[in-house]
């Protein structure tokens, strides 16, 4: 599964939720969107993406329905639910505070203690 290793464990779900917060999207679209926004840092592969969908759907964070794409294909679109929105807010807050803390630790120089 090579690529996703660069993704911090457990963050894929959060990224998917964020993507869906912008607009409902289908599987490939979500993968593309994450790649684009991350500037190609994150390459999402199907082997981790589909289990993530299953998890999110099972936990009631997203809702799925088949719809036509802009190119008139049928695809399974995922929409964020209210629970999902709350979950995203909570995870974002957590993530930001953790990231800030980690950043502070990493920037610490010997004299500061």
């Amino acid at each position: 599964m090579g690529e996703p290793k660069t993704l911090v464990q457990g963050t894929l779900d959060m990224l998917v939720l964020k993507t869906l917060a912008l607009e409902p999207m289908h599987g490939w679209g979500i993968a593309q969107r994450i790649e684009q926004i991350s500037g190609g840092v994150f390459q999402i592969n199907a082997g981790s993406l589909f289990p993530a969908f299953r998890r999110l759907e099972r936990d009631g964070l997203v809702r799925a329905e088949w719809r036509a794409t802009e190119n008139n294909r049928r695809a399974k679109y995922y929409t964020l639910t209210e629970t999902g929105r709350r979950q995203l807010r909570a995870e974002t807050r957590d993530w930001e505070s953790q990231a800030a803390a980690i950043t502070r630790i990493l920037r610490t120089s010997p004299g500061e203690i």
Partner: protein, 939 residues
Amino acid sequence: MFAKLRGAVRALLNRREIDADLDAEMRAYLECAIEANVNRGMSPDEAERSARAEFGSAAAVKEYVRDVGWERLVDSVCADLRFAARAMRRNPGFTAIVVFTLALGIGANTALFTIVDAVLFKPLAVRNPHELVLMVFDSQDSRISLASGYDGSATSDHSPTGNLEGTSFPYITYERLRARTDTFANVFAFAPIEQLNVIVDGNAEVASGQYVTGDYYAGFGIVPYRGRLLTSVDDAPDASPAAVITWRYWQRRFDGASDAVGKVVTVNGVRFTIVGVSPPGFNGALELGEGADVTIPVQADRLVQPANLSLGKPALWWLRMMARLQPGVTRRQAEARIDPIYQQSIVDAWKADPDSGKRVASARVPTATPHLVLTSGAQGDEFARRRYRRPLGLLMGVVGLVLLIACINVANLLLARNAARQQEFATRTALGASRWRIARQLLVESMVLAAIAGVIGALVAVWTKDLLLQWSAWIRGGIALEAGVNGRVLGFTMLISALTGILFGLAPAMRIGTLRLAPGARGAVGHADASRLRLGRLLIVMQVAVSLVLLVSAALFMRTLRNLRTVETGFDTTNVLLFRINPQTNAYTSATVGPLYERLIDRLGRIPGVKGVALSRHPLLSFSHRVETLWIAPGDARNGDRIEINIVSPGFFDTMGIRTVTGRKLLPSDTDHAPSVVVINEAFARMYSNGVTPLGQQFLLGRGGEGTGNPNRPENMARPAGNPLEVVGVVADAKYTDLRTRVKPTIYQSYQQSPTLQANFEVRFAGPIASLAPAVRAAVQQVDPHLPIFDLRTQAEQSELSVGEERMFANLSSAMGIIALVLASVGLYGIMSYNVRRRTAEIGVRMALGAGRRDVLTMIVRDAMAIVLVGLAIGIPIALATAKAVSTTLEDVVFGVAPTDPMNFALAVVTLMGVAVCAGYVPALRAARTDPMIALRCE
């Protein structure tokens, strides 16, 4: 959480739909990717190839998705189950042997557990049995009933702590506790009645009975099966006599006739109306063996036992008490509240009894203060049952060992089969299955086998339960136990099935971890083969060791039984028919009972084929006896000795074949007008005649109070009231209570000089017994049609009855020993056959090089013997330790044989060796017949 569960269940149920949906979604994903690639300028082919490469294996993605939920695990276990079923169908012979072996072990365990459950665990069939408490007194003074002036038929027992505990109470205690409605919702009491003479439509028969207080049925929360149950209205001195019968008695005596309710029957000469039938499954809350066919109110005591009125003796401890706690009150709280009330009540009871002063010379108030303890009443008065815990536990151990052997056997069979399946395992490993996956598969297979065996075992238990009940006659009332397969028993079966599944499945499954599973590696297969043989041998060694333990125990119990059966009884147990009567139940008194006995002896003696008729207060070998206190002379240190006594008719010694040593027998002329005489046994003469002739010696019976000086010194004991008894004869020692107990100093007194209100008749006969029993019944009926006889059996049957517990141990342990032997020999045979097959080539070479058939035969048999010898070497110390532990735990069972008895071990070892030779001989013979040429060509 709920949503998750629902999702998972849906996932399991609509797996195909969900799969299709996932397929479609992945297809859509790919199409998007391909389209994007084409837009980027790739050719359609190239676009598709690139997209697929990026996507990876669709199957793998699906696996990952499935891994998300726990449905995945269920799913794969289902697959394992299907696979296991296929594997079992492929090899039905193997499956049958494994299932049969395990079913035998599980069945034996379940069957015995139904008995254990009925004796020790089964709660009463009443409303919320776990709210009930049984009242128990607990006294540090173990001489409570003698020294302190308390009296009663305490069902008492020494607890492990050495305290005297019991479950009987005076009526006053019941009255006081009944008033404590703040603590108890109901308080009720009951007491067994030994025999009731119940006459229905002119037919007199003995029934078991009990007294109950008014709240009894309400307290248990029982609804009537027919009619109504007794209430406090019935339990009043002036109430019209009413009785309730159990469902069982209703079936037996009335054939379940609906007109039984409302019928008027005569109970001990008093007319009672049967007002109702209690529901099936409820047989009272008395101890095992104390039935309650007929239940009557406590106040009816005045009617049915006027000569021996318990209610008239306030200090008598005779009632068992139970209660239902008020909601919210704990047992400890209740104890704290009622203990002082209880202690006051027993003192008041003692003071209220007019006889109390007479019992102890100094007439002082009792000083010992027992405490009242509340124990679980869920099983009723289960107090005496705890004596069965150890023997039953030991029997469970014996049967458990057989299950262990069965497990070892099956483990061995599985090892052999797994060796044959190595190719399959290698292939599966190559296809990506982990070792854990294969091991899990094997465990699932084991569990399936164990589950099937468990089901069959439960069926076996249903069938063999009745046989075990027959063997359980040694448990008081054991034959009447309502043993059956219920929820607890099924739970037990499931538990042991699961345990066996793990036990025998684990070794083969673990070995998967050590196998080298590279396909095609022939050398590796050979290596695994050898190591499987080693493990197989180890298992056989264990089996031999466990079998030895069982065989040694079996020998211990079988020799115990034989020793008891062949013990010198001192009388002739053959061709004697026994029966009992209780004339009190038909209004006889001490004055009228003598003529009745005379008429009966005379009438029975005229039955053709009868050689002699006698009676005794206590039948021989029935665990019943009477003990008296001896008083010889003032200042004699032997005053106060406890001796045994039996009241007999003059013909007793001739009828029972007890030899006269010196002097004369009791004679019909020894009436109440003649001088009081006794016949003593040799043990008595040895102990009390100081070497001179005992004839003419005189002594008295009874307790004469404490006299002067230190009351605990026998020589200070005062002379008891009454006439001295003179010794007129000495008879040979004869066993009295049971076969085991050494004959104690015993005296025999004539019923004409010491009237007895209960009697056991002994009828010596020649010819067939079949016609005798009805003739005896008819003869008694002729003398008094309303005097029922009971316990009709031969003296030989009585002897066997007295060794019932020992027989149970002997039967069960030898049956288990035989099963163990069969299993061990099958196991040994299997491993030897396998060994011979594996060594065919080697044997061929040996024979080609000049080894004779005899050498080959010896070689293989010696190999088998080596395994057995190692097993014996391990087994002997274990068996020795077990035999010692058994003899200590069951010191009242094992008789006349030491745990270390070399004979037991010799028997067991020889049997095992014999079986080993046989099990090794057949494969050895096959090996010896090997044609060297064919053997070599095989390779």
